[in-house]
Symmetry: D2
């Protein structure tokens, strides 16, 4: 069958001649297989947003080329498996520039559930649990027609946070009451074995970090850094001894929303000495306060270079 | 200007002759003023869903009559102020039956933010805080052309819940360690002044209750019942002494997700002896567990009559 | 290491002795593999809610047994592959009754993205696209200790709907204007080749259907029934000739929100003559009207028996 | 009653000495009254996020001061009414700097439903309809202790968009078929009275624009600019002649997602010649494509100065 041709409405000049920063499609979901080095492959179900810039002389971008580009890159993984979601995104933005010949920048964001294995701390129940990973890539066509690619990788992880301030006031209350019938030395011994109450809640830590195109970092390391920066990880299956362990450990490690961000920063600086100074970073923590309806929030946006300078670590 | 007439496509017979249970519009937001008895008026911004049944001989309902009906009822409140969101819903379903002459049932649901005033427990900071209220009404045309209306009122309130199980195990741990250097009697005195840690989190309590058309209940009573059934209310502004008070009181009143539902039931039975036996009830609690990514859930669906029988209160 | 034992707080009697309808956990996400008969296995990422009833003599359900039960059932699929999400749910509710010895009903709901393959209608571009599937199961322990299981399967699918009413008025406008310079016979010929405008939008069709425990239906048939009941399916990659085809076909098949529900009903009755009369059904359509901010909604809730009687098909 | 004092845990030095970009609370909802000049007051229910920076020497920000600051600013409006949401935000950030003496930047975002009145185009039905408005403000303490404030105002409005590409191909199809029985001149006359089908859908336009502290712009002008940049506004109550009018007008004005952004740009340039060159702008359109599950997206981020230069309007 001969396919009928229709006019290319997109190619016409627009009425108002002004260029656009980003034009594309959002909310394209795909099932993909990532073949990690020396490990079992993992299944992801990311949602992609993809964009290109649009010059002022063209009415519309050719939108159907965007889901086409996603599809072609995913099909390529059958013969050339990708090892990371962010390297797949890097390939995708380069392919977008090939397909949209009028564009000089292409951008993609992908967010996916990511399964990790957790083991409960005492009874050692093993379980599969979800976190979220985030990948981004931006390709820019240079004047000499070479292409520069920036890629970013990150994760969003739920953990438990215990408030140090409320705990300190609970402890003071207890001490004041103990003074009525115990001496100072015994009080000290008692306080050493008491786990004083505080408010605690789900916290959500987020790290997003720029990585050079040819460098790879393991997203599970990022997940661990986020998790270890709160009072305790959460866990799906907790038998009573596990629950007791987690509650006790969390209360021995109370953290403010600000502490979580600073803990992540400290771990990142130590873990990635090889990341270049210009690498951009977003580190964020949101605590769903159990004593309020609103959330507590803390964030640091910076570069690795600035961070090292600020911390005297450079 | 003469307005051109167009064919009534809705009125035609449908291809497949089968009646429909509910046809209507969802997501209609309106700003309304409720004039409570002997109190300041309150402003609500409810989102309405409205439906009628559709007989098998008619292709489509006349959809534009639904937002029209909402508008007309709201305009009526200017001259005849409504005192409750659920009584406004009751009027609305009767009006829907007038406008859709082919319908024999009409139904509406409205959900709105509802502002309450809170005072922090120690430093007495006053603040305006949101909760959610829910109202429903169903009108049925009887064979003798009279109309029966059922109305329901409810609320969804955030509070704080402390787990009794984790607290009991923390206490046991402390006692076991105190035994190494204190006698039983002193341990008892110590435990009396210690606030032992547990996991705690935001809980969301929901009550939805059927009320006879001519009877009124105050939704703020429902809000208080929900709030008082958890370990503690939450509060927007808490200075340190307030935070200490809330954390301490909450830990003196640990509750499971099941306890919250049972507490609400008990308070409802006592508060509303005049509600008829056939009044339907939904009582629900969802706790956003701080030690897990998933939520804990408990629910009771029943009637006042069954509930009184079960509790031997009838 | 000997694991320390802690008190079973859940087992104690509650303060308020009243039974609860449903107690459990919500929002547990799992990656599972379904091994369909004679087909490639599929990967699902369902979110599970699981509940049991709680008798009046017990303070709390043993919550950790719920995610444990999900895990054990999923692990079983490694040796005994499941062929359907709803049969996995049926196994799960039976297992929940084993683990919660005090419960007589157990319930689960699972909702998952589900990948289907679509081919664009003219240029035959192939693409992977998501829909949502829903499965439920309820197990009830009978007096003779046997267990009765009900299972339900369904889907939620996005398609395109064109309004017949707006189209009819556009057609009338065109005819009125053509009368000024064309004769009736030519007008008829012209109208036969014109695709008259209407408003059109995304519609979301939902079917949920009860299936006997030992019977299997293919969820892709349900997906097709939903999709074929709207004006046209949507498609991720549409080149210009595909887009033209879809827009033209959709406008040749305009449907109200009510028509979508009736179309689904008609197709279900024909497709499943073997479903028992007591099978419960929910058929729903929500259209995200392009001329309004609110949605149009239509729903039929019934049983196969009542439906057949109403349609004279029994 | 003497209120007990507790330790100021926040004031201590943090373990990891690094400053944070933004620390604060998110999701604080308030009912406020805005007293517009020479107009009826309006009621808003905005949700506020507020942040300050945190120096490296301080463990935590004093979080309770944030909802306190919001409360105090809202209470001030009783005696000194605010005329705009963004001017209230500007006051709030200055007050945040007073309350957090260690901070040198303060930031707030507020998003609220905003009621407008709409009249249906033919039958003149009047109705209240919601849109969303957005306000932001950032205060920076300068070295000489003066404070610089930036404020931004914007809106998010739903309208209807008709695709020009699909419409052009439908028209070509019709013309090709008309050629079989009509001459070119008659075809031209016929096409002039035909409203050819296309796909159409809800679009969401967003404008966010920086305004000098002492300058005021009317957010309803922004709402109108967004609405007028699509194929047609949506409307809550449309009788058949209204629906016909809207569908016809929208199809006479087909626009791509890119056209919507360019239309908004053109109208902004004309409407606000007095806005300074450094004013930042975000203009965005998202179309919920009726032929796809995914959305189309276009965005321009720039300053008034750059925009004027690009459009030769400077």
């Amino acid at each position: 069958m001969k396919i009928k041709e229709f006019p290319d409405t997109q190619e016409k000049p627009p009425e108002t001649r002004v260029s656009l920063t980003r034009v594309g499609v959002t909310g394209v979901k795909k099932l993909i297989k990532i073949q990690r080095k020396n490990k079992r492959p993992i299944i992801l179900l990311p949602e992609f947003n993809v964009y290109v810039n649009l010059p002022d002389y063209q009415k519309g971008a050719h939108m159907s080329r965007n889901p086409e580009a996603i599809n072609e890159i995913i099909e390529d993984t059958i013969t050339q498996p990708e090892t990371q979601l962010e390297s797949l995104c890097a390939k995708l933005v380069k392919h977008l520039l090939e397909k949209h010949e009028y564009a000089i920048t292409a951008e993609t964001e992908a967010k996916s559930e990511y399964m990790i294995t957790k083991v409960s701390p005492v009874t050692k129940r093993k379980t599969q649990e979800t976190t979220k990973i985030i990948a981004k890539a931006i390709a820019t066509k240079n004047k000499d027609n070479t292409i520069t690619v920036k890629k970013m990788i990150g994760a969003e992880v739920v953990g438990m946070t215990v408030c140090p301030c409320a705990q300190e006031s609970t402890e003071q209350n207890t001490k004041d009451k103990l003074k009525e019938f115990l001496d100072d030395k015994t009080i000290e011994k008692v306080m050493n074995v008491v786990t004083s109450a505080s408010h605690n809640q789900r916290g959500i830590g987020t790290i997003l970090i720029e990585v050079p195109e040819k460098q790879d970092i393991n997203v599970e390391d990022i997940i661990n850094i986020i998790q270890d920066s709160m009072s305790s990880p959460v866990c799906e299956i907790l038998k009573r001894p596990d629950e007791n362990h987690i509650v006790t450990k969390a209360h021995e490690n109370p953290v403010f929303v600000e502490d979580c961000v600073r803990n992540m920063i400290k771990k990142l600086i130590i873990k990635y000495p090889e990341l270049p100074a210009e690498s951009q970073l977003t580190i964020r923590q949101v605590n769903e306060e159990s004593i309020h309806q609103h959330n507590a929030f803390a964030e640091k946006t910076t570069t690795m270079g600035e961070l090292r300078k600020e911390m005297g670590a450079n």
